[in-house]
């Protein structure tokens, strides 16, 4: 075992999130899509589900902010710190530095999907891993077009939320077989 657990986790498996403040330089629909993909990284291996809401109370609030943004941990402009997130015991919110050049499916800039998937790992209770190939390693490694979750990350999230018991089959469930009445 190399992954690290912070010590808190969500007691429910159906979690909601809201993007309260979008990045200034990206299309909102694309951001919605990338962040949904980032959550799916974790729901692919557990029974967790993530549902986006536009308003009201949610479990995980997401904001793109510059500099000081109210939590006493100001962002530092391009490079350096890219984002941070709170563990479940502190609310699970994720903040991204809007001064970064966030990118989608591109080697230029900082890949939003990969960083978001990492931050959501914190939102779910994972700490940083010292396995270099793990998503939960603290350093940004650059765009990986063939991104896959490392076994270390899978073991970590399943230690918190268990294995996936329901398989996504990519379509509607077949009709239940009829059972003759006794």
């Amino acid at each position: 075992k190399r992954y690290a657990l912070q010590g808190s986790r969500w007691r429910v498996k159906n979690l909601t999130y809201k993007i309260s403040k979008y990045p200034s330089k990206l299309n909102r629909a694309e951001v919605d899509n990338e962040l949904a993909k980032a959550f799916a990284v974790w729901s692919d291996y557990t029974d967790l589900t993530f549902t986006q809401k536009r308003s009201g109370q949610v479990h995980i609030e997401i904001r793109f902010e510059k500099g000081e943004h109210g939590d006493g941990d100001p962002f530092d402009g391009p490079g350096g710190t890219l984002a941070h997130a709170y563990f479940p015991v502190y609310g699970g919110d994720a903040h991204f530095d809007d001064a970064e050049m966030w990118s989608i499916n591109s080697r230029r800039g900082t890949n939003l999907f990969q960083v978001a998937a990492h931050e959501f790992g914190h939102s779910l209770g994972l700490s940083h891993s010292d396995v270099r190939s793990a998503l939960m390693a603290p350093f940004y490694r650059g765009y990986d077009p063939a991104f896959q979750l490392d076994q270390d990350d899978i073991q970590g999230i399943q230690a918190l939320y268990g294995h996936k018991t329901q398989t996504d089959i990519g379509g509607p469930l077949p009709a239940a077989p009829s059972v003759p009445r006794a």
Binding site: T110, S127, Y140
Partner: protein, 95 residues
């Protein structure tokens, strides 16, 4: 680089600033007491704490844990990264 704890009062101002930057880095990510980040705390750091913090960072980052703030170590410290602490213990919680 010298492994000695930074003094910030020497003739080599650039070197002191260099050390101060990485001292703040180590405090920010949980390898040194957060009081290091607050100059008014009067925190005085001894050389063994400084070397131990560097070695712990090196070990976590997969580098040789020499306790020396060498070029390879500062290069890794300069990489873009997540703002969450690597090590909990020196005041884990955020406000």
């Amino acid at each position: 680089r010298s492994s000695a704890a930074p003094t910030f009062g020497g003739a080599d101002k650039a070197m002191a600033e260099h050390d101060a930057y990485f001292q703040m880095y180590l405090a920010q990510y949980g390898y040194l007491s957060p009081s290091v980040r607050n100059p008014s705390s009067g925190h005085i750091m001894d050389e063994s704490s400084w070397r131990r913090a560097i070695a712990e960072f090196q070990s976590f980052a997969g580098l040789n844990a020499t306790g020396e703030l060498d070029e390879e170590t500062t290069k890794v410290m300069s990489l873009p990264r997540c703002g969450v602490r690597d090590k909990v213990g020196f005041g884990e919680s955020r406000a």
